[in-house]
């Protein structure tokens, strides 16, 4: 059975509405949404293929930790433990000015908000930005 979910194209800022067609838990096709959409049933070539990179074999599927210059797979528990420890230590030694946080214009509003909250309330820095200038 195929069903589709209405969402927003992940590329440029136009915000075209797309239907992601899902079969057996995989995105198999993209079509332009017609109702309640700025694009009214049209879509560019990138948008028409928006589902394709979702299941790319190159997707990262597990946390990685670098040891002696080489990445190895790790659990979330271990990876987040290391990040928290190192961040805490650097904050204690050098303060918030030692952090730089790059949020993302590809991440959702809610995620950008939490990055700002994490930078300011947890890491004690205003050094947060994203690629608005690029």
């Amino acid at each position: 059975m195929t069903h589709y979910v209405k969402t927003v194209c992940p590329y440029c800022g136009c915000g075209c509405s797309i239907n992601l067609h899902v079969k057996n838990g995989r995105t198999v096709r993209t079509s332009p949404a017609v109702k309640d959409s700025i694009n009214k049933g049209t879509l560019c070539i990138k948008g028409m293929l928006a589902h394709e990179f979702v299941h790319s074999p190159e997707r990262l599927k597990t946390p990685l930790i670098k040891e002696n210059g080489v990445f190895r797979e790790a659990t979330w528990d271990e990876a987040l433990g290391i990040v928290a420890d190192r961040f805490r230590k650097i904050k204690e030694e050098s303060g918030g000015a030692a952090f730089g946080v790059l949020s993302s214009a590809r991440a959702a509003c809610e995620e950008n908000y939490l990055m700002s909250k994490l930078a300011r309330a947890v890491l004690a820095t205003n050094n947060i930005d994203h690629c608005a200038r690029l």
């Binding site: 070539i45 990055m115 608005a132 690029l134």
Partner: protein, 544 residues
């Protein structure tokens, strides 16, 4: 955005995509709209079919330029001169909107005096655009009842980006083309959620809704909501962060969903900065060029695997909906941030992104009326201050966000790097239709790779002949900062003296060449102009 904030008080597209087809004149400057914002590009064409006149200012003969009523083929970085000369003509001919200027603006007399010097003839010598064409364009723009300006990185990625935007605002206010449907000044945002990331305060000087970190009342409000002191001085922008990292001031970085190792200017500096960090965490869906520098890589899931909202270039907050389960052990970015915060002893309790949006609405006047139950339909355009507010299709209706609109005369600042004997050509960078930003996503897609497999450099036939280059030759492009290799596309679609390289391709990253000079206010890098030379490499490239 800094320019718009100064003149009108709000840094966003003033009008809506929907209104493009209502305009009688469209002035597109520094935007290859058809390839970068295909939907908007098609609306511009639709408007032209309906009888709108299209003016395009661009050093390249883009798809829209070919279909324009007038194509102003200017030299990169001379936009201020072109716009000032258009203003000069409009004032000279008495085509300005006296009523609008009187009621809604301040500073007109100063502007009027200042632009006297910018005759179209003087502008022709600097921009390379014929004085007569400048006059025609100015008269067409000023003669319309409803004219809209669309601009993009060709305006903002310069050492004078703030001035470029201020010059455009002057033109808009001079002719009263703002505060009504089908008019306005519209920066096109290149990424699906740039507007949202800005609105959410992923910026060094502001919290959500552009509330300044320097304002004690704002800090007090967030202290109460977040239970933590907000540092009171603005932080560093991306290019400044990499400088600080190189100097050892920044020791740790946390980078999500960005690939600065390809997208930033003057890449060799960025690579040095990343390599020198004490600790680097990268959170992404692929092992990007940037992630390779990381100590820890955290796997995020893609847009298809999570709920959330994106805010479009025309300020519309839309729902992103989860279609499939996260791949492998990947997690949504918001969940990773929540878990990391918890491990650092800071409690964030959200079961779903809708609860995060409720918190955003409670702290952000322009998002005050946004909640997930209202986003089921076409979304809502911010500002939307309360639950009963329908949203705002166009800004500055009865007054500007800053009260009166302000005319500010702007001086011409030439690009920071001039061409000379050694580096005689101007390099400008951009995107192509088939790829997106650093190619992290699109280069995984076979069809798009077939359509545009790799890097290239566009060069005018006259220059090609001068440097002994034929179509398809692999050539070396060199600046004072680096060198890349790419096949040449000899085409009349690019102005003489200018070459173009797309920045999608890591193997010939245009940003090894670009200069890391910044606009003094907006801190935008001058990606759209630097001096290069080009030489034949001897090889022939296949069918590029």
């Amino acid at each position: 955005m800094a320019g718009l904030a100064k003149t009108m008080g709000a840094g966003a597209m003033t009008n809506s995509i929907e209104e493009i087809t209502e305009s009688q004149v469209l002035f597109v400057i520094g935007s290859n709209t058809t390839e970068q914002h295909p939907l908007i590009g098609s609306r511009v064409i639709e408007a032209v079919k309906n009888g709108a006149k299209l003016i395009v200012a661009d050093p390249r003969r883009t798809y829209l330029a070919e279909r324009a009523y007038i194509h102003l083929c200017l030299s990169p970085g001379t936009d201020v001169v072109l716009i000032n000369a258009m203003i000069n003509v409009i004032i000279e001919d008495g085509l300005f909107d006296e009523n609008f200027i009187e009621k809604r603006t301040e500073g007109f007399e100063v502007l009027k005096q200042d632009v006297l010097q910018w005759t179209p003839e003087r502008a022709e010598r600097i921009t390379g655009v014929k004085a007569e064409d400048i006059r025609r364009a100015a008269r067409i723009y000023a003669g319309a009842e409803r004219a809209m300006i669309l601009y993009c990185m060709g305006i903002t990625q310069h050492n004078c980006s703030t001035d470029n935007v201020i010059a455009l605002s002057n033109l808009v206010m001079l002719t009263g083309n703002v505060g009504r449907p089908g008019t306005g000044l519209c920066p096109l945002r290149g990424q699906n959620n740039v507007q949202g990331a800005c609105d959410m305060g992923a910026l060094p000087d502001v919290l959500t809704g552009y509330q300044k970190v320097t304002d004690p009342n704002v800090r007090e409000k967030f202290l109460r909501a977040w239970g933590a002191e907000i540092p009171d001085t603005p932080g560093l922008t991306v290019p400044e962060m990499f400088k600080a990292a190189e100097e050892g001031i920044i020791k740790a970085m946390y980078i999500i969903g960005e690939n600065p190792a390809v997208s930033e200017s003057h890449l060799s500096h960025v690579e040095k900065a990343l390599a020198g960090l004490e600790f680097l965490v990268v959170q992404d869906i692929f092992l990007t060029e940037t992630a390779r520098f990381a100590d820890v890589v955290l796997p995020a899931c893609s847009f298809a695997e999570k709920d959330g909202t994106f805010t479009t270039t025309d300020r519309r907050v839309q729902r992103l909906r989860k279609a499939v389960e996260p791949l492998g052990n990947s997690k949504p970015d918001w969940q990773i941030i929540v878990e990391l915060a918890a491990r650092m002893g800071y409690n964030m309790t959200y079961k779903h992104p809708s609860e995060i949006m409720d918190e955003i609405a409670s702290l952000t006047p322009s998002y005050g009326g946004i909640s997930y139950d209202r986003l089921e339909g076409p979304g809502i355009q911010v500002p939307c201050p309360h639950k009963d507010h329908p949203g705002t299709p166009y800004l500055h209706k009865d007054s500007f966000a800053r009260g009166k609109g302000k005319f500010i005369p702007v001086k011409y600042t030439p690009p920071a790097e001039k061409t000379d004997e050694e580096y005689p050509l101007v390099l400008t960078t951009g995107r192509v239709l088939y790829h997106y930003h650093t190619g992290t996503m699109t280069r995984k897609i076979d069809f798009l790779n077939k359509k545009c497999p790799g890097p290239f450099v566009e060069i005018n036939p006259v220059d090609a002949q001068k440097f002994g280059i034929s179509n398809g030759d692999v050539v070396y492009i060199k600046s004072r900062r680096g060198e890349i290799k790419a096949p040449a596309r000899v085409t009349e679609k690019i102005k003489q003296g200018v070459v173009f390289v797309p920045f999608h391709f890591a193997e010939a990253a245009a940003n090894y060449l670009t200069i890391d000079v910044l606009d003094p206010v907006a801190k935008t890098p001058q990606l759209k102009a630097c001096a290069v030379n080009i030489s034949a490499g001897g090889e022939k490239h296949g069918d590029n």
